[in-house]
């Protein structure tokens, strides 16, 4: 399982819940939020000056003109109503603004930079007393300490030089905060944490102004109640599909691995690929041949899924690819390397069941199938799929382990005018 980016709202909430004396009031506005009732639940919205910004895993919001500061609630509401459901393009990615974060406006002078990043042999803490926008330009001001995996953050590591530029009366506060934050970083299985900036308010409390955080997805099973994040937000620009969520749930329930990402639903190359490594190589080969824009999905199944799981996986992909027809047809790759222990006969039986179920759509959609697979019981698996292809009248080209893995790409791409 991978690392997940989380919303600024959740990152701040997690830190506030796990670090003593860290006051952090904020509200996440989602598509479901009714702005009119919000002040009833959070009365401080009407009594404080506020900040509002989108909370969708992208940075540089100030530069994009998407941060409103020192505003009252009426202005915040107007800001949200202006931007809500509006498209935004950043680089190559376009998405719709849906989530916003509202927090109290904290007037401040000094901005600090702090990050904890993971490395193989421990974690690195970066700190600067000159935090804030364009920190990259003041990289010289950043001091770092490396905490070995089996070590702890000692006060002695955060010496005068490390805290250079911090007023003396704030030094103990920052030292204690870094220790607490490091502790929370480990216990909550963060893999990346950046606070840029945080500040110290007049009463001497730490206040995090902006933050970016990633969590270790593999630790979800032990942290689900502490994290309290029911689903991780998609990357900015990545539209999420219910079919992906369906496979994600299937994957979570299964001992095997089942992954699906829809890249371009209009694409004409659809894939039922096996193996984390082999699936990438297939995509590489297609992109290398200049057919990247035709790639409809990425995905892989591996670790010997059951017949039922293979059926659901294949059905999901085939259903997506046959919703709209293309006058010149589409291709479906059912391919993988020579499996170590995935039973080809069993998994293919699941795939064949889905093919039979969708035989009309496959024929009408002029879909051609290219199969390449080896591994346990592959002879039976390939024979079964060949028979099924003939019976349902869908053209297939089938290869076993004697042909190199990417051998099917050339004949497959020739089918795409």
């Amino acid at each position: 399982m991978a690392r997940y980016k989380i919303r600024e709202y959740d990152a701040k909430r997690l830190m506030a819940e796990n670090i003593p004396n860290l006051d952090c009031r904020n509200v996440l506005v989602t598509p479901e939020t009714n702005l009119d009732v919000l002040p009833k639940e959070h009365p401080w919205l009407l009594t404080s000056k506020l900040v509002v910004k989108p909370d969708q895993l992208f940075g540089k919001r100030k530069k994009l003109g998407l941060v409103l500061i020192n505003a009252d609630f009426a202005q915040v509401k107007e800001f949200i109503l202006t931007h809500r459901n509006k498209p935004l393009t950043i680089g190559k990615a376009t998405d719709t603004l849906t989530h916003f974060l509202i927090e109290p406006y904290i007037p401040h002078e000094q901005e600090y930079y702090l990050s904890i990043t993971s490395r193989r042999d421990g974690n690195t803490i970066h700190f600067s007393s000159e935090g804030g926008q364009d920190i990259e330009e003041r990289w010289h001001s950043i001091k770092k300490i490396v905490v070995p995996t089996l070590g702890t953050v000692e006060g002695s590591m955060m010496n005068e030089e490390f805290l250079n530029g911090v007023p003396e009366n704030h030094q103990p506060t920052i030292q204690q905060f870094i220790k607490n934050l490091y502790h929370a970083y480990l216990n909550l299985d963060f893999t990346y944490l950046e606070l840029n900036p945080f500040t110290i308010t007049a009463p001497g409390d730490i206040c995090i102004l902006d933050t970016v955080a990633h969590l270790d997805g593999s630790a979800a099973w032990k942290n689900s109640s502490r994290w309290n994040i029911p689903s991780f937000p998609p990357e900015f620009g990545k539209k999420s599909y219910p079919e992906e969520t369906f496979i994600e749930n299937l994957d979570r329930e299964s001992g095997a691995s089942l992954k699906l990402t829809i890249l371009n639903p209009q694409g004409r190359i659809w894939n039922i690929l096996s193996g984390g490594g082999a699936s990438i190589i297939y995509l590489d080969t297609i992109v290398n041949r200049g057919y990247g824009q035709e790639l409809a999905n990425y995905g892989e199944y591996s670790g010997n899924p059951s017949m039922e799981e293979s059926y659901h996986y294949a059905k999901t992909v085939i259903d997506l690819m046959t919703r709209e027809h293309h006058p010149q047809g589409k291709i479906l790759l059912i391919a993988g390397a020579i499996a170590n222990f995935t039973d080809i006969e069993k998994t293919f039986q699941g795939i064949i069941r889905a093919l039979r179920e969708y035989q009309h759509q496959l024929r009408e959609g002029n879909i051609k199938i290219f199969v390449r697979r080896g591994g346990p019981n592959y002879e039976n698996g390939l024979a079964l799929i060949e028979k099924a292809g003939k019976e349902i009248g869908v053209p297939m080209e089938i290869h076993g382990p004697d042909k190199p893995m990417v051998h099917i790409i050339s004949p497959a791409l020739e089918m795409l005018p």
Binding site: R3, D121, G122, T149, G277, L283, Y298, P376, M405
Partner: protein, 426 residues
Amino acid sequence: MNTAPLFTKDTTALFYNLKPLPIQQMLDFDFLCKRAIPSVAAIIHPGRSGYHKAFFGGQEILLPMYDTLARALQKHPGADVLINFASFRSAYVPAKEALESTTIKTVVIVAEGVTERQTKELIALAQKNNKIIIGPSTVGGIAAGRFRIAGYAGGKIENIVRAKLYHPGSVGLVSKSGGIMNEMFSMIARATDGIYEGVAIGGDVYPGSTLLDHLLRFEAMPEVKLMVAMSELGGKDEYGIIEAKEEGKITKPLVMWVAGTCASIFPWEVQFGHAGAKAGREQESADAKNQALKATGIIVPSSFEELENTIAETFKTVVPAGNYMPENPPVIPERKGTHFTSTISSDLGDEPTYNGIPIAELVAQEQTIGDVIGLLWFKKRLPLYFTKFLEISIILTADHGTGRERCYFFPVQRTAHHRATVWRRN
């Protein structure tokens, strides 16, 4: 890092969790390689102890099974590999215990989904104790002709034979992906004289041992003439390989490919199947890494499709042309499991045996009832004074009347005798 060979023809492993298929596949590989002893010394199966039946060639053997790793470590000090098949939730504890033991040198973690924090702790521990972790999230690998790491890599027997893995060739292979291992074994079998050792390190962000760790091991193995490494986008381990190459620590020819060149066309960061397969920064992209590797003199093909040719061409420059086909491996005889196995008496052969001794032989040698009890109860021939003692005991207790307090000696006989007594009374 220790670069001594990890896997020889005598290496034996402790196998954590009872997984009959990979265990049997390790033993079948042993047979193909004509190993003298099975590569699995014992099984640890929490909550259960006893024996597990498996085949070593045509012969059925009993592998000892313990309910704790501590006990297995104590009983099998010669085993220096732990094959850890515990689930992702529980893999950490036995891995840690093995890394802290005095006898285990290599820990293989199969589970996918061990947390980064736990993996990092295990890495630190391994470093401290000069040990090697393979995995997490690995199918293991193969030391051709010597040892099959974790029983899955290489697939079924036919595939092992097709890829000539029962015989050591001269190529060292290391790959992040385990699923691609078998494909690579086949490819290397076509392009060269075969694999010497192939290891999958797993696709996690922090694999227990890195591509470089294994390349340095291959560098130290005189048998390895050519090294092949398969990597993926994400992470910066390749730059460590470049550094090692520049420092002269890698001198053997190395053919390497980083998969994931497709990632650049997607408008957002795609998380591929492996946890580590995501390029956060330009430097971690497949293109950047392939280019940097190439620039330092590592042999990088133009695409994965070219890999087989590149390996074949490079191989020709280091190993003189010849017939690479090794002799055929032994054929695994047809075999049938027994339903009941006794380590004491057996009626499988022409004639029943007591502790391996045919009963006719016992009769011929005029063995006494004391000798037979020795064979059946103590599994050994007892000295004369002991068999005499047993016989006197039988004489003294053979008829004990109704005084049941004295019939402590033969529990089974007591019951039978007791029934007889009751019947007589009735």
